[in-house]
């Protein structure tokens, strides 16, 4: 097999005395859609947030695109920011910037970080907005958008940086039920275009239909993993069975 896009080795994370991640070894390959499921408090989100170092691991290493990003000597002179701009992240609570309109939200980072000319960044933004069906909201402010619209804009904002991987941290958990579909639809399209994705979610149907691999996390470790049909139809671990019985 080829070199993985992200490789994690011996990843541990403590919050004070609480051990949230207890040693994770995992690889994510280009083009994969890895769906991470598990009960709340199992460390799914923390694992995802460690991947772009929003949480700094207590121990272990992470390689991204062949470079060890947990190497602190890499962090100086913007090394960390350089890695982060290649990893898009979508949050549960959208985190759009409320003092900017939709267009400004999207082009901020391409212009201020990548140094893209404004006109070019706007073209990229328009293109992406069309793909998610929100062209008419280009000058709206976040407060004027529904939850589903906000999340689609948040996805576009991350995509505008042309990342190599997209991290989704419970992207539909804060949405009203009728808006979940529109966001999952956008994510499904994205997967269809070959984007590498890591998705923490409670949407089992999405995991089953779109995921190329499903990881079941419990108590800070990856307890079981496999292709969606394997894991959902024939879970081997007792804890996995229990969890799936509750959520399916």
């Amino acid at each position: 097999m080829s070199e993985p896009l992200i490789r994690v080795s011996g990843l541990k994370k403590n919050f004070g005395k609480l051990e949230v991640l207890k040693g994770i070894d995992e690889s994510i390959f280009g083009g994969e859609v890895v769906v991470i499921i598990g009960p709340s408090g199992s460390g799914k989100s923390t694992f995802l947030r460690c991947l772009n170092l929003l949480e700094v691991p207590t121990a272990g290493q992470i390689w991204f695109d062949g470079v060890e990003i947990t190497d602190r000597s890499e962090w100086k002179n913007g090394g960390l920011d350089a890695h982060r701009r290649e990893m898009g992240m979508v949050f549960q609570h959208f985190n759009l910037f409320p003092h900017m309109d939709v267009l400004e939200n999207i082009i901020l980072s391409p212009v201020k970080v990548k140094g893209l000319p404004r006109a070019e960044a706007e073209d990229v933004a328009r293109d992406l907005l069309e793909q998610v069906g929100l062209t008419d909201k280009i000058h709206a402010h976040p407060a004027q958008l529904s939850g589903g619209q906000k999340q689609r804009i948040a996805i576009v904002r991350a995509l505008a940086m042309k990342p190599k991987v997209m991290l989704f941290d419970e992207p539909t958990s804060a949405l009203d039920p009728e808006m979940v579909g529109e966001v999952l639809g956008v994510m499904k399209n994205l997967a269809g275009q070959g984007m590498t994705m890591a998705v923490v979610t409670h949407e089992m149907r999405f995991a089953r239909e779109v995921g190329s691999r499903v990881l079941f996390m419990d108590d800070g470790i990856i307890l079981e993993q496999g292709k969606p049909e394997e894991l959902f139809n024939a879970p081997r671990n007792e804890r996995t069975k229990e969890f799936l019985a509750k959520v399916m």
Partner: protein
């Protein structure tokens, strides 16, 4: 009560009010500049700078304004620092510009500590998700502050900051003690000239109120409008 002195002395109050507003304006500008620098130092990662900023704030808030005024007024002279006299300003104020600056600087230094706390609470009121989103897009820490945190924080603290201006207008009456011809000083002059100890003070209180009340009302309205826009 006898207010007939007003027909002769009303212009004293006008000049005093003008000087008070001028002093408060300059002091708040200085205070905002000091406060911004202090706030960035206080919330920043550098422990030493953060300590210095905290020490400044605590010291200023823990000592009387009158003491600070005397330290600046006599202290600067003692160590040989003298503000250059600007004839234009002296003419405008009707008093020595160098003395006036001692008042402005004291009020500015004092206000800076309070403005720092206003900004700090403004920065801390911004949801952590905002800076996380910015960092995840590759923005550096300074750029995150500059484009995401500070603009939102300033919007949040604008009404409180305006209120600080109101506070400075009131507190600045203390500079009359070092002979700055502000509203309070002028009122005292009228008291001396008319041998009426009481009535001129009432007029001064009314003028202070006329200065601050519309401002407070305006700020309350701005605050309401901003909240409706959320």
């Amino acid at each position: 009560m006898n207010f007939s002195f007003l027909s002769k002395y009303w212009s004293y109050y006008l000049i005093g009010a003008k000087n008070t507003v001028l002093l408060a304006l300059m002091a708040v500008v200085i205070g905002v500049m000091i406060g911004m620098v202090l706030a960035v130092a206080r919330v920043g990662k550098n422990k030493f700078l953060s300590f210095l900023a905290t020490a400044y704030v605590e010291f200023i808030r823990g000592t009387p304004l009158l003491v600070q005024l005397f330290i600046i007024y006599y202290g600067l002279q003692a160590i040989g620092i003298r503000f250059p006299d600007v004839p234009f300003m002296t003419g405008l104020l009707g008093i020595n510009f160098a003395d006036f600056m001692a008042g402005v600087i004291t009020m500015g230094i004092n206000s800076g500590a309070y403005v720092c706390e206003i900004f700090r609470s403004g920065v801390q009121s911004i949801d952590k998700g905002q800076s996380e989103a910015a960092r995840s897009l590759g923005l550096s820490y300074p750029k995150t502050l500059m484009y995401i945190v500070i603009p939102q924080a300033i919007r949040n603290v604008l009404p409180t900051l305006g209120n600080e201006f109101v506070v400075v207008i009131k507190e600045s009456s203390i500079v009359s003690i070092i002979g700055i011809a502000d509203l309070m000083y002028k009122a005292n002059t009228v008291r001396g000239n008319t041998f009426q100890p009481f009535e001129p003070l009432l007029v001064a209180a009314v003028v202070y109120f006329v200065l601050t009340f519309p401002l407070s009302k305006l700020l309350a309205r701005i605050e309401r409008r901003m909240r409706n826009h959320e």
